[in-house]
Symmetry: C2
Subunit: 768 residues, 2 copies
Amino acid sequence: MNLNYIQPNSWSIIEEGFNANHVKASESLFSIGNGAMGQRANFEERYSGSSFQGSYIAGVYYPDKTRVGWWKNGYPEYFAKVINAPSWIGINVIVNGIDLDLFTCKKVSDFKRELNMKEGWLSRTFTAILPNDIEVKVETKRFLSLDLDEIGAINYQITPINTSAEIVFQPYIDSNIKNEDTNWEDKFWNTTKVSHENNQAFILAETMKTAFHTCTFMESKLFLNNEKLEKNPEVETNEQQVCFKYTQHVKANETYSIHKFGGYTVDRNHNKNELIIAAKKVLEKATNLGFNGLLQTQIAQWANIWKLADITIEGDVKAQQGIRFNIFQLNQTYLGTDSQLNIGPKGFTGEKYGGSTYWDTEAYCIPFYMATKDQKVARNLLEYRYNHLEKAIENAEKLGFSHGAALYPMVTMNGEECHNEWEITFEEIHRNGAIAFAIFNYYRFTNDYSYIPEKGLEVLIGIARFWQQRSTFSADKNQYVILGVTGPNEYENNINNNWYTNYIAKWCINYALENLEIVSKEHNSDFKRIWDKTKLTDSELSKWKSVAENMYFPFSELNDVFLQQDGFLDKELITVQDLDASQRPINQKWSWDRILRSPYIKQADVLQGFYFFESDFTTEQLEKHFDFYEPFTVHESSLSPCVHSIQAAKLGRMEQAYQFYLRTSRLDLDDYNHEVEEGLHITSMAGTWMSIVEGFGGMRVVNNMLSFQPKIPKQWQSYSFKINFRNQILKVHVCHDGNQFELDGTEELEILVNGESIKIVPNNLIEA
Amino acid sequence: MNLNYIQPNSWSIIEEGFNANHVKASESLFSIGNGAMGQRANFEERYSGSSFQGSYIAGVYYPDKTRVGWWKNGYPEYFAKVINAPSWIGINVIVNGIDLDLFTCKKVSDFKRELNMKEGWLSRTFTAILPNDIEVKVETKRFLSLDLDEIGAINYQITPINTSAEIVFQPYIDSNIKNEDTNWEDKFWNTTKVSHENNQAFILAETMKTAFHTCTFMESKLFLNNEKLEKNPEVETNEQQVCFKYTQHVKANETYSIHKFGGYTVDRNHNKNELIIAAKKVLEKATNLGFNGLLQTQIAQWANIWKLADITIEGDVKAQQGIRFNIFQLNQTYLGTDSQLNIGPKGFTGEKYGGSTYWDTEAYCIPFYMATKDQKVARNLLEYRYNHLEKAIENAEKLGFSHGAALYPMVTMNGEECHNEWEITFEEIHRNGAIAFAIFNYYRFTNDYSYIPEKGLEVLIGIARFWQQRSTFSADKNQYVILGVTGPNEYENNINNNWYTNYIAKWCINYALENLEIVSKEHNSDFKRIWDKTKLTDSELSKWKSVAENMYFPFSELNDVFLQQDGFLDKELITVQDLDASQRPINQKWSWDRILRSPYIKQADVLQGFYFFESDFTTEQLEKHFDFYEPFTVHESSLSPCVHSIQAAKLGRMEQAYQFYLRTSRLDLDDYNHEVEEGLHITSMAGTWMSIVEGFGGMRVVNNMLSFQPKIPKQWQSYSFKINFRNQILKVHVCHDGNQFELDGTEELEILVNGESIKIVPNNLIEA
């Protein structure tokens, strides 16, 4: 744990007291978003201390030219990144000619920030003494509307204490924006027009290369003691900025306020020539409602989300705060209404990982969205990959594969691979397996088979083809091997026969074969269409079968465990516990050379396979592998603790499960990895949800039924969660005395609890 | 073979006819150098076609900030490169107001370039019709003086044909120079002063960061029909240039000439405040001799080099031209007089590989310099590494090693590692072995043991320590393994138990132990000094022994060969011959992914070990390994064919040896790898020399004696070479009828010829 300043609170994230050293961390932690856009919690007024500005628009990215030390054939030409968009939140505040700037104030007191997760807004209050000795009290509130997702609103109130003052609000919009993360210090935005009318201003700007057209806009309303002021601004403009100036003489203890509405219209949703018109329309809707009216819709929308998504934990406020923070941030990042969008590892909270799509979506996020939203959301996430199938085939062709083999990218915005690291990214071909697994997982959970004949089967075929072509027949072993990969554990590179990769490869081929069989029988016209389109032949299927049936898996007789990869036992097998604490985290303390030849595991690798394919193994096997690998695992990936928490719970190791749970749920709040300044770990937050639902709740889908094996950490009095299972909502409440199930739906539901079948009638609390 | 325009000639490199598409290749091939500086064969006059400008000063480098896609701990902060220096060769030529520019001339005829290797100069003649229809004949000659190694001279002559013309020579010096190879487009030079006096001009410029101070200078003399003209120039200067202007009305068929002297004085050799004074001194010496006088010293100096270094081949002019080109370029690059300098893979002929020192020096170059120069030269090359021992210990510390373990850099200018590629560079720890091998090789050849107690033993200790610490005890194998390396074959990365690496690691430890023993007995005061200085203990030596005695070597019982690395037999073992020709070179045609998991070998790896440690193996073992590995070898490294040529000759496969010889000796002249435009492959040229001397000549040092097993390709009538063996010169002449040996020395020399002992009396031709 590296930070400890967030106040425990079950529904809010709260910071009290101003500390300039916390500003960048808080900018991440207090980020707000509405699925269509998001922003770091930068101050509205000028701030001259250290800060990381960030405002992002979903799907608006820039293809940054790849930067490498040594070019290798097969590198993509660019690294796509969601980029810092023009800023609309800024309001300079000038008091008797002096800028309000918390970094230069003589005194800041009663500073409080709150991110209210229940209602979806960010507030800030403080009292400050400016360099000119004027004391002011400030209250701000800001949110990005879920209802009108192109707009956000700010209420900024300032009160001079015991003195009158001339106060100027300077709301502005600004397209002179740089990314902190840029390979070549390119300029990412080209501003084409700056304009204003009355209290509205607009900047048209397009991204370089990708030519996404955007309009950044604002409108302001002024109030004195909540009475609306009819003011026309003085205007200052330059080629990339419009700044309005509203000057007011404010008497002692009077409150001068500005309601600023702003946001983006983009040509993903509008004709590119009508972005200002669209901006005016959304401004009209928002200003008609007013700040408070729009806020009421926000509260209602969030109530609606929480109704299904909330998890309660009694008796452990930090755990409660952690899980809600995770659920809140996931919903701020992705709401599932647009199959062109996906979930970037840092959401809208930073630039790292470029806002691109990783295997995180399939491996971690889909279960959360499946269970807490309409199933259409998970299907949209599957379709995202179906829509990229052609690009995945092109990706594979660039690496020398042929005949429709598909390799999904490790990192992508538009379906093309867009990263610039060979070993840690491209060699992670295991990602292709997670794409197929998500199709299986979706069907298992929703029972909606229609996706497979319509779209999924083509994806499965492309992936099976890849694995067959990527496997090599080893005459020496008389089996198929998979050489030169990086598994989920990125602390190994270019290894041979990563067990997880080989296992999922075999599984993918078998799952494709199985579904070809089903579709041929039950959806024959789809089958014919796909057979022709993909130019499949029986002899190709024989090749697939041969690879799947003769796949090699490294195994240690001595330890009775599958080996993470060939040669794992040659390492110096010192457990993490026996490693001097000063050596950790090894990714900061050790050279890459030393990490690579060490036994240390960044995140679940063999155990990830045991998580996906749990039913293929006995609990004894799981225990043996957990006991073999976890002691070498340093959990330096945000995606590691959740899988271990689930498995520890399954093995009845509740204290260990609880510690892993805390680590995943409060990873960012407590800044375990000392990097929260750079942004939040959004995709791993879905793993936190899994830790409770699948870990403590023991939820699985078994024989087409929901199954639970509820357990509870001793630190908690009770916990509850809800599951949208095939359009009925099951509420699960677990306490030390027993479990309660309650169904919000219309049909009787049969579930398994600790292996016993129980029938649940709607709206009838069942103890089990 | 990609180019075929160089005229066969035994002593010269000749290009006839002007072809703009050949300009960049010829700029490389006709490069000139004198060990202290070098330059590509750029034209003196303006040239607006495609060209790659390059002039380099030995030891003057720039630490370019490392550029990587993904930072890994342990990366060096910079990539050092020898940089393009200010230019002094330029002479704009203006004829009746129009620039002479071969790219824009209406016609160019009788174009001929000659690089005279016997005498060490570059000439160019042509007749050109300018855009204004004036026809001129031009003759130029240029050389970089071996005698005064800070200066070069140009004689530029122009004759208007059948018409008079106003001709202007504009000699200039220019420090507004950019590297083509730069990570961040940094400016590498800071010009501090531009000045001129009479016909002399000077630019003081220093390199950024490293602050090497340099003076670039020039002086010109003008002639009409060989009569000296007393002219004062018009002068144009700016902040980075001085340009003189000498205008002359030239009658039809008269010849107007300029003798331009220019070069560099640098603070490696002079007080940095006296660089202009030093420049004036060397200009005075040179101009006193005059162009022709200085040229005479050049011819004499080269005669002196050839006297010992020449290899003659009768009956095969292309083979003759090839070997002389190789010997010539090696001598242009490094003359061995300065132990602060070393041999960059591209010498002074291009920017790639940064002009830095690689293991090429120890593995390939030292045998050449040992046998063709005074033994002090090889000792200087050894001392270069001794001087970097502290840095090598620091390099190892950065990677987590301790207690004096030394890891020599793969790429260096000043002893620090300075490259930015992990797998292909840093993981090649085998380089450390070549540094130790060179010490062994030097002593074996020279019988000069003094180097070891004085300096070499400390290097051997640091290297042995590294290997002991870098080895891992595998409980599984009950042996020591070396994990996560790249061997000499760079088409494999991060492999385990590379046989070559493991073998040389064991050898290094044993060699260090052996020499500790000898030094303790025979140089006991040195032993005590070193023992104390290095803080050796008996228990540490026991650890070394344990590693050396229990090193693991991958071996295939089935094939009865050592395996290049663990898992080699899992690959799809299709030989190069069975690979479709369209797929080669694989480094251009295949993705890196495909190369890594293929069996294809870039350059000798196991066979490199058989080359170094030949006497550890039987000829039958060599044959078995050659037959196993060569068929998978694509020879896409310039360092590959020579080793294979030597081994094919040893195995009596003369046709194969001859083909490998041609490939190594004419690699650049015929542009086998389609990249000669970027510069020449200097270090591999030493391998060409080895192909003849060690390959065809079969030269070895056996039991402290020179030994030969001469063979001759059927394409040749005879060949001869000379060897400086312990201060006596042995000339070896081989023809199909037999071999002749002749000794230039004072003492009888016992040698072995095909295993038989023969005594050679000085100055007495022996047939054997």
